[in-house]
Symmetry: C2
Subunit: 125 residues, 2 copies
Amino acid sequence: MDTMGRHVIAELWECNIDMLNDIERLERTFVNAALKAGAEVREVAFHKFAPFGVSGVVIISESHLTIHSFPEHGYASIDVYTCGDIIDPNVAVAYIEEHLEAKSTEKLEVPRGMGAVQMKNIKVQ
Amino acid sequence: MDTMGRHVIAELWECNIDMLNDIERLERTFVNAALKAGAEVREVAFHKFAPFGVSGVVIISESHLTIHSFPEHGYASIDVYTCGDIIDPNVAVAYIEEHLEAKSTEKLEVPRGMGAVQMKNIKVQ
C-alpha cells in the first residue's frame, strides 16, 4: 500500500451541546461519516468522561477519524486521516460539521507519508 | 476542562520492519509511551491488516495516540495529541521513535483548541 495520505485537522466551535455529550449519537455520526466518504470501518472505540465530554476513534482501512468533545465550550476537536487518493477526508469532515451543527469551523490539511513535511503544502481553510 | 492542546504529527522512516508488523509489541509500546508521558489510558484498539501493517489507537484522558504502520516501506505515521499543559506529547513521541528504531523522523506540532489555527504557531522539527 502506498504511504501517501491526507490528514484534515478540524476545529469545530459553537456546536450543538447536547450532541457533544451524547456518546451514542457521536459514535453513529462518526461511523456514518466514514461510510459516507467511502471508507471501510475496522474498529470503533468511544469513551465518555464525567461530567462532560466524549473521546472516540473509528479506525478505517484507510487510517482513522477521531473526536474529543468539550460540551461546556461547544467545541469538538476532529481529525480525519485517509490514506490513498480515492477517499476525500473533507467529505467525512463536512458530514460531521453538519451533524454537530458547528457554526464556526477551522481546518488544516496536512499531507502525510510523502517524505519531508512540506509547509507549503499545508492548507489552512 | 480547558480546550487547549498540543498535537504532534510524526513521520517515522527507516523503522524496524519486524516491529512495524507486530501488533502486540506496537500495542505495548503505545500504552507505555502514554504512561511514560504521564497520561491516563482509557481505551486501546489495534487492528492488523493482511498481508502487512497495523493501525492502532490509545485513547487517553488527555486525547489520543495513533499509529498506522507500513512495514513494506519502513514507515510509521504517528499522532500524539495531549490536552492541557501538563503532559508533553514529545515525551511519548521520543519513546515511540526509540522503540520503533526510526532512523529518520519529521515532526510537526499543531496547537489545538485555541481558536483560529495559527500558521505561525505550527512548529516543524
